[in-house]
């Protein structure tokens, strides 16, 4: 087995991983930084983020506004000390991206422009047309090439964390092209592997979003926090789940049901006028909008398509010029994938799983409970999203906390130097398990188990949940894990570029992450943010103003317990959207 040494190994080369690698390299230029990803950096799912990134810039805006929007958007499950740190560092990170060349859209005077987003009081979303994530990712990747101490391991699949004496000391990975195993021995590990949306059938996520980092940390003993909070984006194309950005609504698009009625006014987001106004109607938060769709469907007021029920997202009144200038990507996507000309026709849309609010528990320094292990971005739960993330908080999260994770890891390496240690003996057992997957002559097809998992998650841990439904999914997942252990039979038993083997490893992570979601959902007997229980319809601060922690239970179910939420200056109140308000002037 090949052995390599590094000071910091970063797993995942999307926005958070690249930012972490650059931060570690800048904090101490002598550090050897290994940056590993199962895809080329520019293929990472950050690339598909469309709308933009939040950072306070306007004179009428303030950090307090951003704080309160985030905390109420998260239904008071955010750690407020962490939100304070977050909002205070958003703008400087977005400015840093600008100085690295990110082509943010501009106002006529040359300053960076901002747009409205759901749940935000003021226009504070920086955007690069509707390709914001694409431009952030390419800017970070291209900038990272300036740092010779960042050594990339492109198309290496991280399969196991190696822990010695309670410290993360390296990883076991597969070089995808050859199928050879490699052990990277490091003093610290940063996980930046993204979310887990692919545990559901209908999702907006790339095929790579399989919860690998969550699974790696979970198995190594780091708890997963708030996993029951899964965000449905209200506007995706039915069937494929391709994302139609919230920026459409930020620019003034409206949602109507099959009767042409702006149904959101029936769900605590109205009245319709004056339109547009902040935090009302289509500029409400994602959890409320996806929940409203669910009710409309139950009332028979959605349209039927071969791909399922839809409502209509109407951009036509924005006019061709604005549509092409501000929303070129989704205009292209609607044409290609739905045959819709957004200038002339409304887009059929429905909710699809988009984001995992929960993740690997970290503090504000991105430290996990496992020493030497850091996490940032969607794979982490640093505490800013609570029960529902506001659009445009995650693209800025990846740079704010990507930087923190890189710096924290670099400082840890400097403060507590770890002796070089040969980990090959420790890597042997997991390496054998990986190789054995190729040798099975019996078992089920991968796709059968994967599809059964996805269907069961849609069924029992969907937008609205009940105890019996969640229990059925928990039972199904336990059964599927048993079948997975008994064996997946691969058609491909060779080593070079064996993507079927990688998918089987990913499925192992997904089943365990899905189980953490389902069991956390079962224990939370209240409705809060994106976690809606039909059997417990109200928020219950007395019992559940607390984080859920899922602890790995080996072959059995995870153990769930709870921890307090940090409240500093904003005591829980009722979440309030819609109502009276000033008409906004869109820039």
């Amino acid at each position: 087995m090949q052995r390599v040494h590094a000071d910091v190994v970063v797993i995942g080369a999307g926005g958070a991983g690249l930012r972490a690698a650059i931060a570690a390299a800048e904090r101490d230029p002598k550090l050897r930084v290994a940056l590993m990803s199962k895809v080329l950096p520019m293929r990472s799912h950050t690339v598909a983020a469309e709308g933009g990134a939040a950072g306070v810039t306007r004179d009428e805006d303030s950090l307090e506004h951003h704080f309160h929007d985030t905390v109420s958007g998260g239904d008071w499950l955010c750690d407020q000390d962490v939100v304070d740190y977050f909002v205070a560092h958003c703008t400087e990170e977005l400015e840093q991206l600008e100085r690295w060349g990110c082509p943010w859209s501009r106002r006529p005077d040359g300053h960076v422009n901002t747009r409205f987003f759901g749940g935000m009081t003021i226009q504070r979303t920086w955007f690069a047309a509707d390709r914001s994530g694409f431009h952030m990712l390419h800017t970070l990747f291209q900038t990272s090439l300036k740092y010779p101490q960042i050594r990339r391991y492109d198309e290496y699949f991280c399969a196991e964390l190696i822990v010695v004496d309670g410290r993360a000391r390296g990883v076991l990975a597969i070089c995808i092209a050859t199928g050879e195993l490699i052990c990277i021995e490091a003093s610290s590990v940063v996980l930046a592997t993204g979310g887990a949306g692919r545990v559901y059938r209908q999702n907006t996520n790339a095929g790579t979003v399989t919860g690998d980092g969550m699974g790696l940390a979970f198995r190594a003993g780091a708890p997963l926090r708030d996993m029951e909070f899964v965000q449905w984006h209200p506007t995706a194309l039915p069937g494929t789940g391709i994302l139609i950005t919230e920026a459409c609504r930020g620019e003034g698009a409206i949602l109507v049901n099959k009767d042409g009625y702006r149904y959101l006014q029936d769900y605590g987001l109205g009245p319709v006028d004056p339109w547009p106004r902040a935090k009302a109607m289509e500029l409400g938060p994602r959890d409320r909008l996806s929940q409203a769709f669910w009710h409309e469907h139950r009332k028979g007021r959605t349209l039927d398509t071969p791909q399922g029920p839809v409502v209509q997202l109407d951009l036509r009144h924005l006019g061709a010029k604005k549509i092409h200038e501000r929303l070129p990507l989704i205009t292209e996507a609607a044409q290609t994938f739905a045959g819709i000309d957004t200038v002339k026709q409304p887009i059929p849309v429905c909710p699809a799983v988009h984001y995992t609010m929960g993740g690997i528990q970290t503090n504000v320094r991105c430290e996990t409970p496992l020493r030497g292990l850091y996490a940032a971005g969607e794979c982490a739960s640093v505490g800013i999203h609570g029960a529902n993330r506001l659009g445009s908080n995650s693209l800025v999260e990846i740079v704010v906390f990507g930087r923190v994770a890189g710096e924290s890891a670099a400082e840890y390496v400097r403060a507590t130097p770890q002796p070089v240690r040969d980990l090959s003996a420790l890597a042997q057992a997991p390496a054998e398990r990986l190789r054995a997957m190729l040798d099975r002559r019996e078992g089920e097809r991968l796709a059968v188990l994967r599809d059964a998992m996805r269907d069961s998650m849609e069924e029992g841990v969907g937008i609205y949940r009940t105890e019996s439904g969640i229990r059925a999914t928990c039972a199904k997942l336990a059964e599927l894990r048993g079948r997975y252990r008994r064996g997946v039979r691969l058609d491909d038993t060779s080593r070079p570029f064996n993507t079927e083997w990688l998918s089987a490893i990913e499925l192992g992570f997904m089943l365990e992450v899905a189980e953490a979601m389902a069991h956390s959902a079962l224990e939370r007997q209240e409705s809060r943010g994106a976690h809606m229980r039909l059997d417990y319809e109200a928020r219950d601060d007395a019992r559940f103003l607390k984080h859920s922690l899922a602890h790995y239970g080996g072959d059995g179910a995870p153990r769930i317990d709870h921890r307090p939420v940090t409240i500093t200056k904003s005591p829980p109140k009722e979440r309030h959207y819609g109502g009276a308000g000033k008409q906004a002037v869109l820039s």
Binding site: V39, L40, M42, Q142, T499
Partner: protein, 243 residues
Amino acid sequence: MRTIAIECLRYHPETDRAPRVQSYDVPFSDDMSVLQGLQYIKDQLDGSLTFRWSCRMAICGSCGLMLNGKPSLGCEHFLRDYYPGPLRIEPLNHFPIVRDLAIDQSDFLRKLESVKPWLIGEPPQKGTHLQTPRQLDEYYQYSQCINCLLCYAACAQYGLNDKFTGPAALALLHRYNADSRDHGKQERMQVVNAEDGVWGCTLVGYCSEVCPKGVDPARAVNQNKIESTKDYFLRFLAPRKGA
């Protein structure tokens, strides 16, 4: 559901001396992309068929393939348009094959790095540069490259001589040179002027035709031929610092 025959090029580095073709019958609905056809084969028929994919919405650049001989993204083309078939799927031209439809991208990554694709010069200490929408327009088109490599598969010159820097990397070079915030043009002129820089291009223009994002690398290369010519004559007038 109709059925189409998909003929895939297969190559395994350990067991095949040369690429071969394997045909699969794939049932499809009208909304199924070519990528979904490949996924159907992988899930249901043959888990050993190897190809790259990720975002399935034409922004990550993973699934570049030759579809009936034309460089294309598998996710944004639909099986219905190739009916009754057969549809021939091959890895992108001009690159070594790692396995089946997956090519070796490392040569492109070296070229990408060679054009110094980052802002050069002293940025403001704090805050941001000012850049008007008009200045943004000067380079924005060239910043939209998704690195899918379709243009290299379309480039006859790269097929003949893989030293040629090639369309996407030269377009990216132009993206930074044309950015009002950048001061690295002189550093990058060495790449532009080199025999394998812009002068390698023979102006066929197929790169721009196949680009799924309208980047128009051919135009970027030609603008740099003008720059390179100016640079050549200027050198006689005012020798460059450090040159």
